[in-house]
Symmetry: C2
Subunit: 156 residues, 2 copies
DNA sequence: TTTAAATAGGATGTATATATCCTTTTTCGC
DNA sequence: GCGAAAAAGGATATATACATCCTATTTAAA
């Protein structure tokens, strides 16, 4: 039971971190990896993707990094989810029915259809800025049994 | 965006087919595979699992097959989903927050929490019998470019 | 008792998502 | 210009879900 992929969750976490810094502020991937608990090499891949898709701009070299292209309030979550995940199977019947319409769907159709619509609307109306609201002092889950590093720790 | 795994969807489709036949009626895996479009070898694995977990009884040999152990109205969907999928990450925050409670969750927490509760309740209160209601003349999605067989067709 | 049909169970193959590594290119500071 | 820092990009590794294959065992019927 999930809304979006783990990769997409990572993207959101990283973008929220950048949103807290503000549009156009360049931050290194290693800092973001440390702060958010996202595996560094994987994060750089996600950044490449987000850069190609116009969410981020990147700068190489010393004091390089990535920065938001837009104001956090101008980026909706649905834009990010659509860019990372494939939402085409979004409308497939959970029972695997070839046809499952509103008027004659499977027993799970109405409730799942409703839930999806609500979530979809929420993703459309929630911006990166909104996501930063409750995220001032976040602690993220870590992979495996790693230590829970506090953001900005320098003990790499 | 999904409720349960593809394996679980297969299990439900197969169990609905058996529910239409009634409790205790043995049906061969090949017939069920034909009728539901579930890959045969994979279906037998799912049946082994469902048998071990007490949903089905199996009979080997000529005119063998699997049969429901219980009346279709006595089996809830949540029982099946819990048996097939791992629902432990069910409560993990979609933003990856270590703590994400009702009183102080991430912005997506309320809506996702709600949706999950509704779906969970529906799965609890819907039985195999209920699932058969709209499933008399089902056509299921097929893998790859197979023919779209109508359910219960005898043109194996 | 033999044979065919069917599930059980183990092993293996494939696809995709997740994660890492290495080399190249760019950029800054000296 | 040189060296270090950092992202880009390609290749590879790992985990899991999905799917198939082969052999053994069981069963019913001829």
């Amino acid at each position: 039971m999930q809304i979006y992929s783990k990769t997409c969750e990572y993207a959101l976490r990283a973008l929220v971190y950048l949103a807290l810094k503000g549009k156009g502020v360049f931050i290194g991937a290693s800092e973001i990896s440390e702060a958010t608990g996202i595996p560094g090499p994987y994060l750089t891949k996600i950044f490449q993707n987000l850069t190609r898709r116009g969410f981020l701009k990147s700068r190489r070299g010393v004091s390089g990094g990535v920065a938001l292209c837009h104001q956090p309030e101008d980026v909706s979550l649905i834009q990010i989810v659509e860019a990372i995940d494939d939402l085409t199977p979004f409308d497939e019947c959970v029972m695997g029915l070839d046809q499952c319409e509103d008027h004659n769907g499977c027993p799970l159709h109405p409730i799942w259809s409703n839930a999806k619509n609500e979530i979809f609307l929420k993703l459309k109306t929630t911006s990166l800025m909104d996501l930063t609201k409750n995220s001032k002092k976040m602690k993220y889950r870590r992979l495996r049994r790693q230590r829970l590093l506090s953001a900005f720790s320098d003990d790499a």
